[in-house]
């Protein structure tokens, strides 16, 4: 499956927030959206998910314009995980994950054995089977994020749309979530995510869309897009992009701001 956005302009009502955005993501790829606060990352996400109509251009899945798709049809292709979700009631983790089946079960249906199997598989895929009987509101932020991604997987999509999956997570949890996300691509899912940390684009070896204020967005591989110059243009700060080899001789890159 390939999700493409072509010459799109996004915004609320008549206010254009972003213009002339084009990029595509296929299954097996990770695409990171980078950009300063208020540049319109969330708006772009809402347009991708058909929560907002595009003001110009179009969003295509496998070459078909999704403008006339129903929400249920779209939900078979993409699954969305919002930034931080806390259900107001003490749900159990496995029940939360089962809710991913809502799309195929429908308004008046009940989950069948098949749906429970898919739930178990999603839990196993995210490596959180030990959490299955815990109360969702009691577990840690990183665990919660993994649960929400498992919920998205239970929807059986081909593309996951993650809004800042590592926001407000501590360092260990952040690395854990990102490594799980990266593992998903090897299982054949496509991932689109926003992030505030350019390092994560290197960690996941992602395709990057760098959104900028008052300038066209830049698309390309992480190594090409996340450079000192581009980061200066986008964020207005000086950042060194450092390349090093770890103990096993693997090449890795990090961003190091100089103050």
């Amino acid at each position: 499956m390939k999700l493409e956005i072509r010459n799109a302009a996004c915004g609320y009502g008549k206010v254009k927030v972003l213009e002339n955005i084009s990029f595509g993501v296929s299954t097996g790829e990770i695409c990171c959206l980078l950009g300063p606060n208020g540049v319109g990352k969330t708006t772009l996400f809402k347009t991708l998910l058909k929560l907002l109509p595009p003001l110009a251009g179009e969003v295509r899945i496998d070459g078909q314009n999704i403008a006339r798709w129903t929400a249920r049809k779209l939900a078979r292709y993409t699954a969305y995980v919002s930034q931080f979700h806390v259900p107001p009631f003490p749900y159990i983790v496995e029940d939360v994950v089962l809710l991913g089946r809502l799309n195929s079960v429908g308004y008046f249906g009940q989950p069948k054995q098949h749906d429970y199997d898919i739930r178990d598989k999603a839990l196993a895929d995210m490596g959180i089977e030990h959490l299955r009987r815990r109360v969702y509101t009691d577990i840690s932020g990183g665990e919660r994020q993994l649960v929400m991604i498992a919920r998205a997987l239970a929807q059986e999509p081909q593309m996951l749309v993650l809004d800042e999956p590592t926001a407000s997570l501590d360092y260990g949890n952040m690395v854990r979530v990102i490594s799980q996300v990266k593992a998903l691509t090897t299982k054949g899912y496509g991932v689109i995510m926003t992030t505030h940390s350019p390092d994560q684009t290197f960690m996941t070896d992602a395709k990057v869309v760098l959104l900028m204020k008052n300038a066209p967005a830049i698309c390309g591989g992480a190594a090409d897009v996340v450079t000192k110059k581009n980061l200066k243009d986008a964020y207005g700060v000086d950042v060194n992009v450092v390349e090093f080899a770890d103990a096993n001789g693997r090449i890795a890159r990090v961003c190091a701001p100089t103050l």
Partner: protein, 372 residues
Amino acid sequence: MPIGLDAAGVPRNNHKRYMRLLLGGVLLLFALSLCIRIASRGFQSPADVFKSLWLWADIHISRLTHGGAWLNRSALMAERGVGYYEAYGRLLISGVTFVCGMLLALAGSIFQSVFRNPMAAPSMLGVGTGIQAGLIVMALTYGEATLYMPLEKYTYCYAFALTMLALVMGVAKLSSGKRKFSVFDLLIVAAIVSQIIGGVTSYFVYGMDNSFALVLQNLSNVLNVNTEPVSIAMLAAVTALTVIPFFLMRFSFNAVCFDSDESNSMGLNTRVVKFISLVLGSLMMTAGMVHCGAVGMVSLIVPFISRGLFGAESRGLFWGNLLIGGLVLLLCRDIAFFVPFSVDGMPIGTVVDLVTLPVFVAVITGRRRTWE
């Protein structure tokens, strides 16, 4: 530590057992509740209890002997004497009470899910107040005849309930501006409105000639339950209309706990579901309060109890609410019968308030603070 969780905070997997226990409790209480004779103030002697039980059973036997047809009440009275009629009436009253409890609890749970806040029960959001206002207007218009006008009562109360809900939500929406809709504003506005309505009520209670009728109405005396066939039929119709949709949607109703973006991306349109839920939930609340009086607190408390026992997932919660709601209201009505407050026992509204108050204080001072 909430009930239903073990020491590690992991829910025990014994919902089925709870359900069976609860069902047994409901049946027992229902049987006991049938025994309490309608005209008496509580048990008179154990012999009376058995006599009532026997009478009740005899009605069913007589139903069989009459070719499976239910006897109408006058025929029953003529053939078997007044005692049968009392037992029969008691059966109806207990049934109506149980169904009202079910409806109230379900309405509470629905509202809490829709507003995503455990405090947002319909009795806290002005729906209960609206129903009371409807009753006042009816009593002003029709006087004591109000007691025998089920259809009009429904119409007035439902209209006022929806109006009040719209008013409260409108003011809260206005006050939240562009920010997120705040449940807290809803609570405050509803509290103020209900204080004003309370003032107006007490003005009319003292000022009107037929103040008795209004007081009876308002505080829902135990004799207030109308067992006319029309009334029972209305209750049955409303129950079918409101409970069946939520029975069918008991799994997908979980989706309203997600925000609208998330549930949209899951392919469900929760705006429609929420709208229908509010409309039907208000109807449930109306039915419960029209038949049983000012017992709105049931809708706030019961969802807490059933969430503690059955977890937050709405399939278990659906059954739990139905059972526990009916149980609690039946219990309150029986307490109301027992307490020798006046010839008619105690007003059930007060019993409900006093029984639920400790539960509520325990909930809001408890460890899990999820309402914020």
